[in-house]
Symmetry: C2
Subunit: 262 residues, 2 copies
DNA sequence: CTGTAGTACACGTATGTACGAGTTGAGGAG
DNA sequence: CTCCTCAACTCGTACATACGTGTACTACAG
C-alpha cells in the first residue's frame, strides 16, 4: 500500500477559501516530490474524510490542480500526478540545407536522432482557395489557388504535432508535393528542384489553450497549452513560397533559436 | 438593454453531458461573434432558467469556457467574453547592435515604437550563487558568484513580462550593471564596454500554465498560458556572459524568428 | 443637487444527496 | 488453473439549498 502524503490540516483562521488551502497542500506535496510523477493522489473520498469537507470542495481543489496542469483525472481509476513526456528540442538550424541533402525530412531525421520512432498519419492533400491570412503571407490574391498538405506527426505512436502546409498551386502542380509521400528531403527539396532557391524562414510563435479539435488530435491532457507556429519560407529574391501552420503540444517541445547580435 | 444571444435548447437524445452542450452553445455564440469581446454572458440565473437545469450544471459549463480562456468571471458583475490585449511582436533582430547604439534598451525602444508607454518596476539587484541550471548555461561552478537583476516590464501600466538576468559577478562588478538604471543601451552595452564582443544569443522557449506567483505578478486572466524564455548571450569566442530568464503573458506576445535556410 | 443607505443581482463558497460509468481485484464456477 | 461474475472503489454528472461578498443602481434624506 502506497503511503499517503502527510497533508496538513486546514487553517481555521485563514480567510483563504478551503478548497484553495487544500489545493495548496496538494501542490506543495507535488512540488516537494512527496507525490511523484505518476503517483496517485488520495481519492476524493479519502480527502473528504481527512479534511472533513464536502465532496464539491474537494473537487474544486482538484480542479485547480488539473487546470494548472499538475494532475490528470482518470475515470474509475483516480487522480494522478502528471508525468511529462520526453521533450523534443527544435533547433533553429533544423531546416538547414545540409540536413535536407541527407534525404530526410526534418521531423524524421530529428526524431530518429533522439532515439524515437517517428511516424506521420492523416495525410490529406487538397487544392483550395487560401484563407485571408495565408493569402497575405504568400502575397497571393484570394482568388489564386493553393495546395494544402495537412498531416499529423507522432513519436512512438503518441501524437505531438499537426501541420498544414500551403504552397501556391502554380509551384506545387506536377511535383511530388501533390503525393502523400513528398519524396526525399520533403517538400522543401521539391521546391528547390523547381528552381526556387530557399533563403530564409520566418517563424511566428503564439501560445494558447488548445481548441477542442486540437485537444482530440494531439490527445492533450487538460491544462496543457499549445504552441501555434506559422512558418513562411522565402526564396533569395524575397518571394514567399510556402506557409506552414503548426500546432504542437507545448509540453513535448522546447523551441530553440539563435539570434545574431550584429 | 443588450439583446441576449439566441441559444439553442438542449438535445435530449445526445449522450453529450448537459454542461458540455451548454458550453458548446456559448462557445459557438462567441465564435460566431454573437457574443463579442467584452460582452456579458447571460447570468447563471438566466442560463438556469433558459435550460431548466441546476446552477452547478451552469457553473460547470462556464468553467469549461473559462479554462479555455474564452471568458472571465468578475465577482459581482458577471461573466464576460475575454478581450485580447494588443499584441507585441518580438522580432529576432531586437537585440541587434544597431538598436543598442541608439541608446535605448530593447523593451523601451520597441514599446515606444508601437505607441505604448513602457515602464519598469520591481528592480532588484543581488549577488547570489547560481542555480545549477544557470551555472551550467554560464559554464560556471556552483561556487562562483553571479549578479541577479530582476525586474518587471509594463506597458501602459499593465504588466506583461518579468525578467531575471544573471551575469557572472566578475563581469558585472564595478559597472553600472549593479545600478537599478543600467545606463544607455542596457546591460548588453555595459558588457561590451568591458571589452566583451557579443556575437549571438540563444533563446530556449517553453510554454506552460503560470505558477501562482506568475499569475499575480503578471495579473493574468485564468486560462492564459505563459511563455518561459531563457536567453543566453555569447561572445565571439563562444563564452556565455549572460543568462536572462523571462516569463511573458502569452496573449500579449507573438515571438518572431528568422532562420537561415543555409 | 448630492450623498448615502438600501436593495436587487451577480458570482464565490460550501453542504448534502443521488445515481451513472469505468476500473480493479477477489472469489467462485467451471 | 482459467474464466467470469460481482462487489468495491473511483471519478463524472446532476440535483437542491444556503449563505457570503462584491457591484451597481435606485430612492430617499439632507
Amino acid at each position: 500500500m502506497p503511503e499517503s502524503p502527510t497533508l496538513p490540516d486546514l487553517d481555521p483562521i485563514s480567510d483563504r477559501a478551503v478548497f484553495r488551502q487544500i489545493a495548496d497542500h496538494l501542490r506543495e506535496a507535488i512540488e516537494r516530490g512527496q507525490l511523484a510523477e505518476g503517483d496517485k493522489v488520495p481519492s476524493e473520498a479519502r480527502l473528504m474524510q481527512h479534511y472533513g469537507v464536502a465532496r464539491m470542495t474537494i473537487r474544486n481543489a482538484l480542479q485547480v490542480l488539473q487546470s494548472e496542469g499538475l494532475t490528470v483525472a482518470e475515470h474509475g481509476r483516480g487522480v494522478f500526478v502528471r508525468s511529462h513526456p520526453p521533450v523534443r528540442r527544435l533547433a533553429s538550424d533544423r531546416f538547414a540545407r545540409r540536413h535536407r541533402e541527407q534525404g530526410k525530412a526534418a521531423f524524421i531525421a530529428e526524431t530518429e536522432g533522439a532515439g524515437g520512432k517517428p511516424s506521420v498519419d492523416s495525410i490529406e492533400i487538397t487544392e483550395v482557395k487560401p484563407s485571408p491570412d495565408v493569402a497575405e503571407r504568400l502575397r497571393l490574391s484570394p482568388k489564386d489557388r493553393v495546395v494544402r498538405r495537412s498531416r499529423r506527426y507522432l513519436i512512438n505512436g503518441q501524437p505531438v504535432e499537426t501541420a498544414i502546409s500551403y504552397i501556391p498551386a502554380e509551384i506545387a502542380k506536377g511535383t511530388q508535393i501533390m503525393q502523400p509521400d513528398s519524396g526525399p528531403g520533403g517538400i522543401y527539396a521539391r521546391i528547390e528542384e523547381k528552381g526556387y532557391r530557399l533563403d530564409r524562414f520566418v517563424e511566428d510563435i503564439k501560445s494558447r489553450m488548445p481548441l477542442r479539435d486540437e485537444l482530440r488530435a494531439l490527445k492533450l491532457a487538460p491544462g496543457v497549452p499549445v504552441f501555434h507556429l506559422v512558418r513562411t519560407a522565402y526564396t533569395t529574391d524575397g518571394t514567399p513560397v510556402e506557409v506552414c501552420d503548426t500546432v504542437m503540444s507545448s509540453d513535448a517541445y522546447v523551441l530553440s533559436y539563435e539570434l545574431p547580435a550584429r
